[in-house]
């Protein structure tokens, strides 16, 4: 009985930690967003990106 109670308590603590962690994540925008909202930065980072389709492709898919 005591063992089960301990298990429940630790599970609840884990759940609480996970909820808190996800709340923090939700409150703080991801670092990804800083770049992906900045068009100029993306343009700079994408310069030199090459085409992804072969020039030999022809006809409809």
């Amino acid at each position: 009985m005591k063992r089960n109670a301990r298990l429940h308590a630790s599970a609840l603590a884990g759940l609480l930690a996970a909820v808190l962690a996800s709340s923090v994540l939700a409150a703080e925008p991801s670092g990804c967003i800083i770049c992906h909202l900045d068009e100029a930065m993306i343009v700079k980072n994408l310069s030199g990106a090459r085409a992804k389709t072969s020039a030999m492709q022809s006809g409809s898919g």
Binding site: C32, I42, M56, S58, G59
Partner: protein, 638 residues
């Protein structure tokens, strides 16, 4: 779409439910780093493809449980068909080719709800905002474009009545239940999916309705046999890798036609009929030879003319306009003559032999279509042009782009692309895309060596450039102009050679008398709107007239009130051939576009309007005019 637009997140996304989830929860990566390479280390751009259970399934578990096995996600019928033809000793090669060339078409949650699918060039549709309903243009037809999209919105043919009349996009028919359904193992084909939409889901109990032909034909023919238009067929796909190791495919030929075949599997749900439309798929016994020869030793096991459900439904169609447009019409039914040597065995079960071809009906009311006014000289064929090169005054114009002309053109043809000339004002002019003054047009034509009394034959790839040039020539005063039916493809099909030697003509005065009655401006059009006996024919695509898209120079999306939409694609076949005058006149008549009326053609920029003007002139319409200002100017001023 510019590369940066593809990955630019909208600020509005942050206030959505999905915007509250940290990016790395779905995509991984190292968000703390401000260095691009370090930040993207371990990042998954397509989590719904690679880890759907984790990325989407935590919240949408019930949907992901089946959607991860859906046809969109797995393309599971591809290996089924390939195995039916395969020498299984070579399956390793075949499956490698499949993964490199076919599997790239699959998509998952993100490709329908967030981004353009991978095959369609990727990129967020709306700044990473999740959309419950898929975007028909950026998502569904971005992949299903060459057949479904082009047919549905009128790039080819009249378009689909569900779009034109009911403004339906893909979702009303293809709902989540079908899209998210798991494909059972060993599913024979997509039509065998239990959740697949069928016409009869909405159109119920037709055999008990008032339409006589439904009572006669239901149970014998697939709905599309009577209600589809012609559609494209692809031939001879081959795959390989280029010198950079990039995979590519080449579909070497596309033709537009319609073929009725025998139903080779009446056990498919809802398919207990005898006849169905069949479309040629670009399978070829050698298509994967790049990976290893002899892979498809059982190629004859599966037809290459497959059941088709073209998305170009019309209530009234040419093949159903009269019993004998179909019955006894040998060319409409798949015959041995339609088959290439290597596919005869494969299609044995879908062929309609002479013995079972439905016989012509003796008691039927003939169609009454007056073709006596057709100006037959306005269209010539390749044979005529080939046999009359020395015809007095003949001028042949290649209206394609210069690169195509230089690669090979009809010998003696001069190059003249009307959109690369100063025949019209530019896109940035105060009034964009309107005709230059007649004096200027005459000078341009004269400098090309064209005179008004020449017999001027124009060709291109598909009519889209030749038609407008022919219309401008007529407006400028040319007295004998002709379109080469089928354009350069028709010339090639007839077996005639081309030349790479450029041709020019001596400058001469054009000497034409302008025909101002062929053109109307927006003020005149506004006065004529709604008048009895006047039809405003809008030749744009259906998505334009529905306001889903707009020309970049137009101030808004929309349509001229009271106009009738018949997309230009309804007048031409895929390769620039024209349908017969009788069929065109009949089809136009179903829209109320008849020769007894004044017809004013319009579009976005005047190009398609001028093109359709020429076709209507050819068909013998006595009073046709082009609204040259078109929607671009109309939208800015009204």
């Amino acid at each position: 779409m510019e590369p940066q637009e593809k990955v630019l997140v909208s600020k509005d996304f942050l206030s959505t439910t999905h915007g509250e989830i940290a990016c790395e929860s779905c995509h991984g990566g190292k968000p703390a780093s401000m260095d691009k390479a370090a930040a993207h280390a371990g990042m998954d751009p397509h989590p719904s493809i690679n880890t759907p259970g984790k990325a989407c399934g935590e919240c949408h578990g019930e949907i992901v449980a089946t959607a991860k096995d859906s046809l969109h996600a797995t393309l599971s019928t591809f290996p089924t068909v390939l195995k039916s033809r395969a020498n299984m000793d070579k399956w390793g090669h075949i499956d490698e080719a499949r993964k490199n060339h076919c599997a790239g078409c699959h998509t998952s949650c993100g490709g329908c709800h967030v981004s353009r699918p991978k095959f369609a060039g990727k990129g967020f549709v709306k700044g990473h905002i999740f959309q419950k309903r898929s975007d028909p243009l950026n998502q569904c037809t971005a992949c299903h474009g060459s057949r479904v999209g082009n047919e549905f919105y009128g790039q080819r043919g009249q378009g689909d009545v569900h779009a034109a009349k009911a403004a339906m996009d893909c979702v009303p028919c293809h709902q989540a239940g079908e899209m998210h359904a798991a494909a059972p193992p060993h599913l024979k084909g997509r039509y065998d999916l239990r959740e697949m939409v069928r016409c009869t889901d909405c159109h119920k109990d037709l055999e008990y309705g008032s339409v006589r032909d439904h009572a006669i034909h239901i149970g014998k023919v697939q709905c599309q046999v009577c209600h589809s238009q012609t559609y494209v067929n692809c031939y001879s796909c081959h795959v390989g890798k280029d010198s950079d190791g990039m995979a590519f495919f080449q579909n070497r030929r596309e033709t537009e036609s319609m073929k009725i075949g025998r139903n080779d599997d009446e056990t498919t749900t809802g398919a207990g009929y005898r006849y169905m439309l069949v479309r040629h798929v670009p399978s070829d016994a050698e298509m994967f030879d790049f990976y290893g020869k002899g892979g498809f030793t059982n190629f004859g096991n599966t037809p290459t003319w497959k059941r088709a459900s073209p998305h170009n439904i019309q209530r009234r169609t040419w093949q159903a306009a009269n019993c004998n447009n179909c019955h006894g019409n040998r060319g409409l039914f798949l015959s041995d003559a339609d088959l290439l040597d290597y596919e005869k065995e494969a299609n044995r079960k879908v062929l309609v032999s002479d013995e079972i071809l439905p016989k012509a009906v003796t008691k039927t009311r003939k169609l009454s279509i007056d073709t006596s006014k057709v100006r037959t000289g306005m269209v010539v064929d390749a044979r005529w042009l080939h046999d009359n090169p020395k015809e007095k005054n003949l001028v042949v114009i290649d209206a394609r782009d210069r690169a195509a002309y230089e690669k090979g053109h009809i010998e003696g043809a001069i190059h003249f692309n009307p959109l690369e000339s100063d025949l019209r004002s530019g896109g940035d002019a105060e009034k964009p895309f309107v005709l230059a003054p007649h004096k200027n047009v005459a000078e341009i034509l004269g400098n090309k060596g064209i005179a008004a009394d020449n017999h001027i034959v124009v060709y291109d790839q598909n009519g889209v450039l030749a038609g407008p040039l022919l219309a401008i020539l007529e407006w400028a005063g040319a007295i004998h102009v002709s379109y080469l039916n089928g354009g350069i493809e028709g010339w090639h099909d007839a077996g005639f050679h081309t030349s790479a030697e450029p041709s020019t003509r001596e400058v001469r005065p054009f000497n034409g008398t302008v025909r101002p009655e062929f053109v109307v401006d927006s003020d005149t059009l506004a006065l004529l709107l709604g008048k009895r006996g006047v039809v405003v024919l809008d030749t744009r695509l259906i998505d334009r007239t529905l306001g889903m898209t707009k020309h970049e120079k137009a101030s808004r999306a929309g349509t001229i009130p009271g106009s009738t939409n018949v997309p230009l694609g309804a007048l031409y076949m895929e390769n620039g051939f024209l349908k017969t005058p009788a069929e065109l006149l009949w089809m136009l008549g179903t829209y109320g576009v008849t020769p007894d009326k004044t017809v004013i053609t319009t579009c976005d920029t005047g190009v398609a309007a001028a093109d359709s003007f020429f076709i209507l002139r050819y068909l013998g319409f006595p009073d046709v005019r082009v609204h040259e200002e078109a929607w671009v100017v109309w939208s800015r001023t009204r």
